[in-house]
Symmetry: C2
Subunit: 387 residues, 2 copies
């Protein structure tokens, strides 16, 4: 009998919304490369619902209570008095989402004596101190690939939106104008531009694939070089360093993990090496960019636009300068939380819990930390300091 | 010595903007299929400038004045007292753009005794009464393909923007919120959806090509069936009627010409046959949709979103209901007027004028009406009532 502590984003307690814009979400059976979408034995929710919210409870309540477990769901996660902090000491399992993360610091992990499993409903476990998880024998798992394609769509949308000057032009419509000059004076075609991705993992590669028919010149930099056939198929130019890539790019998209080498990678010095008027899109992690350097570059015109949906901290405070800087196309951290993605990561969370309670192995590809070491996906993507 | 009357969109007389977001636009040499981009002997402008505006003069003044011609440029085109109306009677050549059209009605053509050539700087000559042009021996030409790809990019951007709920989520950022539930309750992935285009000409086909790697199911309806190899390559399902296509589609994009069969095609009856919660994107012509039927469908939830950049009339009045209807992602008519596109259609306009003054033939693919009949591109795309 376990206690599951689930930190989810808020919505009105009565449930939200009353009705959905659409009756269903298309079913995705497999991801590129062949990995199957989550395969829980059963689900108790309807794909397309707002599952990741407090009222949605990731569709887990019935399943957990029938199994005799206790589910605590809250959005209150900040400060010593928060529900999360109070419920953590006897929790066996913690679940949260990267854009509303329950930060599992070394102190909290030390305090959570019963904690055995931390699940990211989604992808990205940098809110968990992996070193501490390893030390305390906590298994860390995430729903690998569940929303990678969602994010890649967001990236393409934002690139087009910035380059074509979408949102300011929309705003002229709403204001009642027909100011063609004001709309198009910053509107370009993406065609024939040089577009590069920092890292070509699942998301970066999916972005490259989607951009291919736009007749752009595609670039990437990544420690792991892609297979030659893939480079050839997509017409990719590989760069050994970020510097060599960003110099030639009109558009740069960041699809890298946050680690010491990528933290504040895009600072004044690097941005100064970009082409004047380049666009930068970051849906990876906010801290990969130096917050104030981005603002300065937009104000000076060194960057023509910045978009993304990752911030630091999250939630972003109301006075975060990225909310008001010029020429931005930001969203809150939502790119991986479309209703389509929520259906997949809710199912994946259920699959992980079913395996856990049945004492069946969790899929290798979902594991970040297991048995006191980096495992599965974690061994590929994360690193921890040597002890 | 000819008088050229050029109707362009307005901007501050001093020129706008003072500096551009970018230093250049990538050069496109050829369009898909092999047609070359415009090949004037020379240009007197820098690609990337705001050429289609009154201050930009399509980069033509030097060229025309050196040739001894007279260039009159104005944005004032409405009403009997407008500069356009006053300057028309002795104009030899009229130039305008589809989103700021100099309507050449039968009455005006009858009045313009010297008129020999009407050029669309861009694509789409439905602002010219072709029957009257034929009758009065006016040649009608447009810069075919100059901005087709631009529009196709706009379509993909708008589809992603509607499906993923981009603009409302952006607005939460600006308002200072972190309302994940409010953002994602209407956010879906495009992946695996059914997407169909009404017509698969240059723009429709370019849209289909760009959507292919999004792993959607692609549909089209068109009188002209595409070659089997193309259908196979893109995985297209052809539909004999609009009705049979829209029934199965989550997203419908309109890329058809305006003619009697497409005028008000999307009315209450047709929209009622769409899937509830479908998205409609129209960058073709405003009158292909019934204005108030669109508003009703968005208000009832039959459509989950509507975007596009074509209106009727143009400019749209400040109280046009499409400016304020729910769940829209409209822009003014700008999709074909990125600075990249303006460079091409300004060069194409120059090419047409060079041919005209040199008495060399205008490219077949630019001609809509010539020698008293539909010609070139016009013969393929337009129809006029039999006399």
């Amino acid at each position: 009998m376990a206690k599951i502590l689930c930190v989810l984003y808020d919505d009105p307690v009565t449930g939200y919304p009353k009705s959905y814009a659409r009756d269903d979400v298309p079913k995705v059976e497999r991801y590129p490369g062949g990995q199957t979408a989550p395969t829980p034995k059963r689900i108790d929710f309807k794909p397309g619902e707002l599952l990741g919210s407090v009222s949605g409870e990731l569709g887990l309540r019935k399943f957990l209570e029938e199994g005799g477990h206790r589910l605590v769901v809250t959005s209150d996660k900040e400060g010593a008095d928060s529900v999360f902090e109070r419920e953590l000491p006897d929790a066996d399992i913690v679940i949260s989402q990267p854009f509303w993360p329950a930060y599992l610091t070394p102190e909290r992990i030390a305090k959570a004596k019963n904690l055995k499993l931390a699940i990211t409903a989604g992808i990205g476990s940098d809110h968990v101190d992996l070193q501490a998880a390893i030390k305390h024998g906590v298994t860390v798992a995430e729903v690998t690939y569940s929303n990678s394609i969602s994010v890649s769509e967001h990236v393409v949308m934002m690139i087009l939106g910035l380059v074509r000057n979408y949102i300011p032009s929309y705003q002229w419509v709403v204001k009642g104008g027909w100011n063609i000059a004001d709309c198009v004076a910053r509107s370009y075609d993406l065609e024939a531009m040089n577009v590069g991705t920092v890292a070509a993992g699942r998301i970066g590669l999916a972005v490259l694939r989607r951009l291919k028919p736009f007749d752009v010149k595609l670039h990437y930099t990544d420690r792991h070089r892609l297979p030659e056939a893939q480079e050839h198929e997509l017409g990719l130019t590989w760069h050994p360093t970020v510097e060599s890539m960003i110099k030639v790019c009109d558009v740069v998209t960041i699809n890298a993990l946050l680690h010491p080498e990528t933290e504040h990678l895009f600072n004044d010095a690097l941005i100064a090496k970009m082409k004047r008027g380049a666009y930068l899109v970051n849906t990876a992690r906010g801290r990969i960019c130096d917050r104030d350097a981005i603002v300065r570059a937009l104000e000076s015109g060194q960057l023509a636009g910045y978009a993304g949906d990752v911030w630091f901290p999250q939630p972003a405070p109301a006075d975060h300068p990225w909310r008001s800087m010029p020429h931005h196309g930001m969203t809150p951290h939502i790119s991986g939380s479309s209703l389509s993605a929520q259906a997949r990561y809710a199912a994946g969370t259920r699959e992980i819990l079913e395996c856990w309670f049945d004492k069946r192995p969790i899929r290798e590809e979902y594991l970040i930390v297991d048995g006191g070491k980096l495992a599965g996906a974690g061994a590929h993507s994360y690193s921890v300091a040597k002890p």
